[in-house]
Amino acid sequence: MESSLGSIAIISDIHANLEALTAVLDDIDALGIRRIFCLGDVVGYGPNPKEVIAKIRERNIPAIMGNHDAGLVCRLDVSRFNPYALDALRRNTSEINNEEFDFLDQLPLSHTEEGIQFVHGIPPDDYTTYWQQTGTDVFTKFTSRLCFVGHVHIPWVAFEDEQDEENPFGLEGTFPDANRLFPIHPSKRVLIGVGSVG
């Protein structure tokens, strides 16, 4: 993304997938982008929670908390997780040490920088709700012009002023061409789902 912050890469939902994270970071490096932000769910599902946490810390990538991170550190009741997600989370938990646990435990619920909001689920700081569950009200939940979210695993863009009965979310769509450029008009408020790494 080009902004007043310069070029930044926004990643999310790594889910303890070291191979995917390594490939994405290599791609970001090849593009010459030095600033990276992570929208949460560092762990869960995948087999390498330790290595992924280490890489996030080694690269000094700011991150916020996702629902799987919250579940692992016991900040979230995981009884509603599906059985295989719960199984993976328990296996992840058994692999990490206290320091890695503390790293996840201290992740903030949201982050705002230069008028851009970052959150895992929906703004202002919800890591469990999917934005589609909120309908058009989602734009009442944040004041910034731009908000980036993860959680859904599919990239998409929703424009506040392009909502109507046929397209209640103003949803631009999901993108088979993930390299497509999205010019964003300065007057538009936009909610952007970044997709998932792992």
Binding site: N17, A20, Y45, P47, P176
Partner: protein, 33 residues
Amino acid sequence: MNRAVPYDVTATQRKLREKGYPEILAARLEKGK
């Protein structure tokens, strides 16, 4: 599958299976989500 940055999916799947994770978690990687 919609994956913008390809990676070695089979390596991740192999690790999941070696560590005894549920098979459905290896299968989900085929779908790119």
